[in-house]
């Protein structure tokens, strides 16, 4: 009977495993293989050993993109996590209006990325609504997308709006499943709101916070559409995150070997963070 169950499980899993192997595993392995070659898609790959990897240390485009990526991820996830946490906390206490707030907050997450990016491109236009508001306040117009200082912040600001939506819902789910007893005990002990938050809510929410940190970091590292549509990595590479550099190297310059090397670096970063996620989840189970 057990053997039959296992056979069935094998047959049922087989299509999924095959699909994953063909469309996920094979491309990753092939990218790894190509990262040891120069390959322009027009002639056969030429083996260069570790050449592409050694080149990374003097590749200013890559080093700049790595820095831009970390800057973007850091300044996106820190404010987004704080904002999402407190928004979720407020909605969890919103009573009968909670459903409406949930719907409104989640809306940005269900809109297509490209549509969102195009709308923000219009908002950030030199003659667009954001600068109109600044003008009404007596301030100078800001070149949001054409200045190397402002463009990264324009994208970060937009990501706050977009990402907060998604992570608020995750935090909200975490709040709804918190046990009530510790909070009742805190009230009986006369704990203030700040003490309850610091000593009860945050410790109980740690696994959810860890999950959101990992998800936000991985999603930040994989960002592409907003940068592609709003600035195409410019001006002067100020918003050229790794994914944009990979895309340009592969499809703009036909340097598949180099693009694969960048991809492997990105893959390694994402994998390391995913491993931390697994470790954190295991910690939670063992706690």
């Amino acid at each position: 009977m057990e053997g039959m169950r296992q056979r069935w499980a094998f047959y049922l899993l087989l299509p999924t495993v095959l699909l994953l192997a063909i469309f996920q595993l094979y491309p990753v392995l092939y990218a790894f293989y190509i990262s040891f070659h120069t390959y322009d898609m027009m002639s056969p790959p030429v083996f260069v050993g570790l050449g592409n990897y050694l080149r990374l240390f003097s590749d200013t485009q890559f080093l700049n993109s790595l820095w831009v990526t970390f800057f973007y991820v850091f300044w996106t996830i820190v404010p987004v996590i704080i904002l999402s946490f407190f928004l979720a906390l407020a909605i969890s206490r919103a009573g009968s209006l909670g459903g409406v707030w949930r719907l409104l907050i989640y809306l940005p997450s269900v809109l297509p990325f490209v549509s969102v990016a195009l709308v923000w491109k219009l908002l950030y236009n030199q003659r667009g609504p954001v600068n109109d508001i600044l003008g009404e306040l007596g301030m100078q117009a800001i070149p949001w997308l054409t200045n190397s200082t402002w463009a990264p912040w324009a994208l970060i600001g937009m990501s706050w709006w977009h990402a907060t939506s998604y992570y608020t819902i995750i935090f909200l789910a975490g709040f709804l499943f918190l046990p009530k007893d510790p909070f009742e005990a805190a009230i009986i002990d006369g704990a203030s709101r700040w003490q309850t938050l610091r000593l009860v809510t945050i410790p109980l929410m740690k696994p959810t916070i860890a999950l959101v940190v990992v998800l936000a970091t991985v999603n930040g590292l994989k960002a592409f559409v907003f940068q592609q549509v709003l600035t195409d990595g410019g001006p002067a590479n100020a918003t050229q995150i790794l994914t944009i550099l990979i895309y340009k190297s592969a499809f703009g310059y036909m340097e598949m070997g180099r693009a694969s090397t960048y991809s492997i670096v990105l893959f390694t970063l994402v994998m390391l963070i995913s491993l931390i996620q697994i470790w954190l989840i295991q910690e939670r189970r063992n706690a």
Partner: protein
């Protein structure tokens, strides 16, 4: 009876043209998306099939950016089309990779490269020749000229239909730009006198700076292939022209509408009074601007020593094509209709004396473009042109924000040397 049938079949065969018995051939054509050109090529293909019933055609087009990616993927998969549309700066790479077929003169009804050159304006084929061999024919031989909105200038009392009022030097141009620009009550620019293109790809930037670099004696690479884009001549070229537009408050990236589909949006919509562009651009203009433009030569550093741009969006045959002779024969047939091309698509095929054709006489500024073509040179040749063009574009975007021109060009030179392995 059998003998009679055989004899009848033999007689019938003798009456039919030989081509009716040739193996049917389907030629696949790939082109970047430009509806007027697509329609024209399809029309010419249908004409060709009437006289060559054994030849049929399959046509595919994709927007410029996607087009080159799909083409590379098709070549990699061994499924290259027979006829392709290729910009001249890609020829060194494509020829080095063995992707393009050498011209088949016999199929085109000529005997040699010199015969072919004799059919075209001087220099028209130069960008398509590698190692002394021809690999394509021009479909869109281009240069840039200066477009001016005569209604805007009339508002400030300048008649730009009078050649005497055309800017001869860059100083003249910037002075005119200041005269024609319009500001609101707060002093914000409402209408630009002139601006460069901004926020587009490196090729677009190059089309505008290339003539200027030549006017200043600036070379992107020296004879050994090392970057010299940071030479004093290049620094002066960019400082006197590109940077000046920003520092003098004439234009700059903050004022430009970035639209990859219509790079000339501000001029087309009447928000800008002068721009540099090709003969193909008027179909993109708004109705008001269509009725109100004049074409002048681009300004020069030294009006007695003219330098302009030359580039070529060509048609060529791939080495993978199994029907190369038929493909070359059709290509010659297609591109020999220079008048049709200009009338239906706005493209100049560069055939000798094209500027005297009936279509050219109906085209505003055709004489100016013809004259500008004679002073044109092609971009620098390189296997890594895309990355080199991007490095220069990055430098421009850097100094346009207030950075030092020399420092920005030093960084570009370093990047160019890096990608070239120098």
């Amino acid at each position: 009876m059998r003998m009679g049938l055989t004899a009848a079949a033999a007689s019938l065969a003798a009456l039919l043209p030989l081509s009716a018995f040739a193996e049917p051939v389907t030629l696949t054509i790939w082109h970047h998306t430009y509806p007027p050109a697509e329609d024209f090529i399809k029309q010419k293909a249908a004409e060709y099939s009437k006289t060559h019933p054994d030849v049929s055609f399959k046509f595919q087009s994709d927007p410029h950016g996607d087009y080159e990616v799909k083409l590379a993927a098709a070549i990699a998969a061994g499924e290259a089309p027979d006829l392709i549309n290729v910009l001249d700066y890609l020829y060194p790479k494509f020829v080095a990779k063995g992707i393009l077929a050498e011209a088949d003169y016999k199929a085109m009804g000529v005997t040699s490269l010199d015969d072919m050159k004799a059919l075209y304006s001087p220099g028209a084929l130069d960008g398509l020749i590698e190692n002394g061999k021809l690999y394509g024919l021009p479909e869109e031989l281009n240069t840039f000229a200066l477009f001016m909105n005569k209604a805007h200038f009339a508002e400030v009392g300048i008649d730009v239909t009078d050649k005497a009022n055309w800017p001869k030097t860059w100083d003249d141009l910037f002075a005119l730009a200041k005269k024609v620009e319009k500001k609101d009550a707060s002093g914000n620019l409402e209408r630009l006198g002139f601006n460069w293109v901004w926020g587009l790809d490196g090729f677009w930037y190059a089309m505008e700076y290339w003539p200027i670099l030549n006017q200043y004696g600036c070379k992107v690479l020296d004879d050994s292939g090392k970057a010299t884009i940071n030479s004093p001549e290049c620094v002066a070229a960019f400082t006197d022209t590109w940077k000046r537009v920003v520092t003098d408050g004439i234009g700059g990236p903050d004022y430009a509408t970035v639209n990859p589909v219509n790079a000339l949006q501000d001029f087309s919509d009447g928000r800008q009074s002068m721009m540099m562009a090709g003969i193909w651009s008027p179909p993109l203009f708004g109705d008001d601007v269509k009725k109100n433009y004049v074409v002048a030569p681009i300004p020069e550093k030294n009006p007695n020593d003219q330098h302009t741009l030359l580039y070529n969006y060509s048609m060529t045959v791939t080495a993978a094509s199994k029907h190369q002779d038929e493909a070359w024969a059709f290509l010659r047939f297609l591109t020999s209709d220079g008048d049709g091309y200009l009338r239906h698509t706005g493209y100049v095929t560069g055939l000798k004396d094209w500027q005297t054709s009936p279509a050219a006489k109906d085209t505003i500024g055709a004489d100016i473009f013809a004259e500008q073509l004679t002073h044109g040179t092609y971009f620098w040749r390189s296997l890594t042109w895309g990355e080199e063009g991007k490095a220069i574009k990055d430098a421009i975007e850097q100094f346009a924000q207030g950075g030092d021109v020399k420092e920005a060009l030093d960084a570009a030179a370093k990047q160019i040397d890096f990608v070239r392995g120098k």
